[in-house]
Amino acid sequence: MAIGEKILEVRDLVKHFPLTQGILFKRQIGAIKAVDGVSFDLHKGETLGIVGESGCGKSTLAKVLMALERPTSGSVMINGRDIGRARGAELKRMRRNIQMVMQDPYTSLNPRMTVGDIIGEPYEIHTEVAPKGDRRTKVQELLEVVGLNPDHINRYPHQFSGGQRQRIGIARGLALQPEIIVCDEPVSALDVSIQAQVINLLERLQNEFGLAYIFIAHDLSVVRHISDRVGVMYLGKYVELGKDTEIYDRPAHPYTQALLSAVPVPDPEGREQRERIILQGDPPSPANPPSGCRFRTRCWKAQEICAEEEPLLQIRPGTGHESACHFAETHDVVHVN
């Protein structure tokens, strides 16, 4: 897949949710630091995978990218314009360029609209994209593109299976011909065999339309399969960012190593050989993250410097990609031959 020019530039993105107390006079007593300083670029036709455990800020990041939440600070530049600060007609125009595929195909489609209405809704909102007479044909084309029968245009979502519904959701995302699609756990609600079909569909569409994906998931193997680059998140920050091979074969951050060591290995022989790194404790509260390195409370390498100085995301000696650890060193956890 040819990687084109930069279309999305995220800089120091921060999203804090205020914690308030009091019924009548609310005062802020703190903030959930859901996303706390995330920067990355996305190029045309590229897939950036984002992994991390529950509560690390993946979905909040997706919401901020989609301008469903306003960032507390930082910028999300799409083709040089900041969607986080866009309003009204400008925001609406920018939304044509970034669309979303949601996690749960059972709640993401309005049960009282026909498939034709669901996929056609983008054209009703952005009337300039397609003249009224063409819309139905366009919807049928989209159904065909995602592998559904165009004759089913008058059916309702409940008449489809989970995988088919996810295809409907993808068709809706494609309707406006965006350059970027944010996939927030698009396959985690589906059966494994259906996951594969949907992933293959996403890859085919990427090749056909030159889409760039932000692919959020907690399933590491799915992310590896589809991604060109992978970012690992922990408590609202990137701990490591690099090409898929770098992250999976030469992880440098202890958290990434621990995460990879937890991936189930289907081969009983390989299972005996691989290491298991078992982390102690739970992730700290994002309302009150640890000083310095956020991972230090669960890290076996932690020393005093980790509490005092926050490690920045940068290329460390001995590793070829960016990681945020004072003691970063590559270590092959999965032992791939």
Binding site: M102, E121, R136, P150, Q197, H225, Y248, P264, V334
Partner: protein, 314 residues
Amino acid sequence: MSDIRPGGPVIAPEETPVPKPQKKEKAAKPASLWSDAWHDLRRRPIFIISLCIIAVLALMALWPSLFSSVDPFNARTCELATARQGPSTGHPFGRDNLGCDLYARTIYGAANSLVIGISTTVFAALIGGLMGLIAGFFGGGVDSVASRITEIFFAIPSILGALLIGSTFRDSGWGIWLVVAALTILGWPMTFRIMRAAVITAKSQDFVVAARALGAGPVRIMFRHLLPNALAPVIVVATINLGGFIAAEAALSYLGVGVQPPEISWGLMIADAQRRFLEAPLPLIFPAVFLSITVLAFIMLGDAVRDALDPKLR
């Protein structure tokens, strides 16, 4: 999918194409919720039956003379001497306390009862529904203000409130519309609460987030996404309330602030008849049966409409 080795047997079988349907559907015509619902309703016997009953009642309300040759407003048709007489030739339902023809009065009473029941239901559903939709959608301050206003209306005991409104504006000359206004003012908070709760439930669903991500404005989200998904409980409650409103009209008439003689309404007839119910039950039973049939017809209609609006039940 749990193999993370490159080149491993990741990702699966070929995309299985969706099986083509055996016979081609007639897909050309665009379908929408309402056109599908109408298509579906025409095949439901319950809907047809309730519609027929309502049509007959409507005919009764509009042209009562089609059903009865006796004019109950003409005092000369009443004979005090024959009061509470049982059914006889020319007077199929018998006569009431004042010796007037019960059949004619029941027919002529349909108009007021229906107008009050239907108008109050429609107004209460419109006001309560719209406010509930807005309060549920915007939440926050708008919701707090709207909810507090509703609670104030809830706190008014309904009969007392209606009595107050009715007696204050007694001489306004609004007639039955005064009853409609009083019952609407006291009836809308129920619809408001149901609509608000249903909207809040619908609002948190992903398809609303998806619509926002597409750039849909608040009006589109409220009327295209939230309203159709929140309408079912409102329709059910509205049709049940319709009977309640007709009954409340009866109570108000009985207390002397509703429909006043010489006007005729089922409520008024029931109120009149109940004083002598033990010696002459028919003057109460006939209007009560008509009232029950009317309420039942509307509840069945509401049920059918609610089911037709839910594609999953088709």
